[in-house]
Symmetry: C2
Subunit: 399 residues, 2 copies
Amino acid sequence: MYRDAPLKIIGSNAERTRLHNRKVVLGHLRSQGKLGRAELARLTGLSTQAMSNIIAELEGEGLILAGERQTKGRGLPAVQYTVNPQGAVALGIEVRPNAILCALVNFLGDTLYTKRTDLESSEPAVVLPVVKAACDEALSSFGEHVPPVLGAGIVMPGPFGRVGLSGTGKAELVGWDDQDPHALFEEALQMPVRVENDATAAAIAEQTTGSATELQSFCFVYFGTGLGLGVISNGEILHGAFGNAGELGHVVVERGGRLCSCGNRGCLETYTSRMAVSEYLQGRGKSAESQKDLSDLLAANDPDLDAWISEAAGPLAQAIGTLENLFDPEAIILGGAMPPELLEQLIERLDLFEATVSVREDRKLPRVVRGTSGWMTAALGAAALIIHDTYIPSISKVA
Amino acid sequence: MYRDAPLKIIGSNAERTRLHNRKVVLGHLRSQGKLGRAELARLTGLSTQAMSNIIAELEGEGLILAGERQTKGRGLPAVQYTVNPQGAVALGIEVRPNAILCALVNFLGDTLYTKRTDLESSEPAVVLPVVKAACDEALSSFGEHVPPVLGAGIVMPGPFGRVGLSGTGKAELVGWDDQDPHALFEEALQMPVRVENDATAAAIAEQTTGSATELQSFCFVYFGTGLGLGVISNGEILHGAFGNAGELGHVVVERGGRLCSCGNRGCLETYTSRMAVSEYLQGRGKSAESQKDLSDLLAANDPDLDAWISEAAGPLAQAIGTLENLFDPEAIILGGAMPPELLEQLIERLDLFEATVSVREDRKLPRVVRGTSGWMTAALGAAALIIHDTYIPSISKVA
DNA sequence: TTGAATATTCAAGTGTTTTGAATTAATGGA
DNA sequence: TCCATTAATTCAAAACACTTGAATATTCAA
């Protein structure tokens, strides 16, 4: 996430070629479910012989499973291969100021285990050992036969580094500003590590196991402490130069509007966010600290909550128009720490702009859909990042 | 630009590896200027032997030039290689409703030739032969010894396909809505073709020959007929799902603001665009149709133009805040069809937000800088796209 | 029953990179 | 001035992964 030197693109060789091709094969197997060698060869543009070699290697490592031969018209029926869900695991950690959430997922990104551990302090010296212990515990249930651990995804509240928005959010971690989380976690955990913000991780989770498995380009609006945005465009994650892309909460939707903790006026998250709804209800004598509070109020048809939803839909619709015009996504997904029914209510009341590049006759999906919600989203997303990396090749760059 | 089936990522082999490595080598040579084989090997992570082979091949094709041996401390001085500017050329075409602009650039993206040709109509059947003839003429000056032509970049006014914004702009091409420009141009020109929108092309031009040669992540705000945005993030072009990303002009900056031709209210381009300034001045009895008109008014310290700039700076600053928070770029560049002095005035008067992720202590560049301006920007950018592709490797995907 | 179609394997060949030793040319210290 | 050291480059052989073409297995259709 931290970068001083410009990225250097590095060369390829036979070994890296094989690595690339393995990912390509796994990617196709994951998205298609079941495929034979010959069909994989056609899909990837490789020879059947090359495919046989790659398949043999992956099967030997237990990452894929050979199934029945399947008859499809004439000719020798093809042996169908599938991804082995038990072939490998990945860890996901969400670091919050007062706790860490640890998740373990299988090779398809399905949840195997989750656990929350409280933190005394958010200093690196405290957090790192706790995270290490949590990871060990997560893997301990396997006993002797731990599957290959692909790595650990780490989600930390952004923004990364000292920037103009620093120090304005409640969720910020003290003691991390001048640290390199990637290096620290890789050192502590002794495995490959990826650090991302919560919204990006949630977006990847959505693509891995959620409602966006078919999507190559989408925006994930993430209700966390603030309001984040994860962007996947043509299959690639949008990071921005310093890993801080997607600060949707501080996009201004109303000039001279409500005063935000960041000092600006009219930021989206003063209208549409967990914080906004909590404050709104608190001002009316109601508590909405937990997701359950909100669920209950919604179930009871609370008029104040209802009013808030209507009020929040306007600014959100405007922001969605902005996202559509700037990112041209296949769809926009709403998820995170809001009750699913509330998100659906919100989507229902959106008065979307009629004139954006996303208004197309040939749309297959609605412009805005509901995604996965819940407080574990980010930790699962962190693990999904690691899974993602083993299915999607990328150009190798080095700092 | 058009895409029905999901993108399929394809496998690699020795041949594609060489292609990748050639690009990596050319990319480093371009950005560093002069390098020896051994240093290139270190930069790319390849062996010196592999580098020798690649260098020999590139030199044999005339794409790079061997220079003097250069002494750097002990040891055999390294032969310094540079990109050969005359090694290859690329064509760029901007298609407008009433004319095409044709540009020819050398292997470094420097302009060799430009020409405008009027169009009777913007129908494909009329445009394609005119473009073909323009390309032939551009290359005719070489006589017998035409350098390798890498391809042609085509810039067309977006948005592509029939979308909600279609039919609202003045610049739209009639007769192209249901066509596949890429296939049509490739057929007509018999060479590799890339189709992009004007802002993206301008952004690539800026990175190739303009003020952004060092930047990996930036936003290019392009003053064309409307207001476009080209985004390069970590070296990769942001297209969006349908090639329509970057519709900055229709981002709403003021709820219930001025009525835009798209039907919405408060679109940025009703405040800050060529169109906006023209209308503003026209309303005050002054003409500002051409870039020269604007230059003259500016030179004469025209109070109306001055007032417009101040008025336009507000909405633009807000949009820039949005771009900073959503894309986290290294810088934002303003360019296109506005006089350079006007862009500088505009930048000077921007009252940028103090709280965005782009406010960093360690900034090397100002948050907003002026880029290349002028009416040829898009055509040169189109050619730069082709140049870009020969220096930057990418994951091969197929529709 | 036979021939066409399809998947897969076998064996050899090709392209590109890697490895290790040899060569060339400059520096720095004796 | 000479020689060991350092660094770039080349040479020759080996390694790696993919491709090609022929052979084999299995199914469908005539």
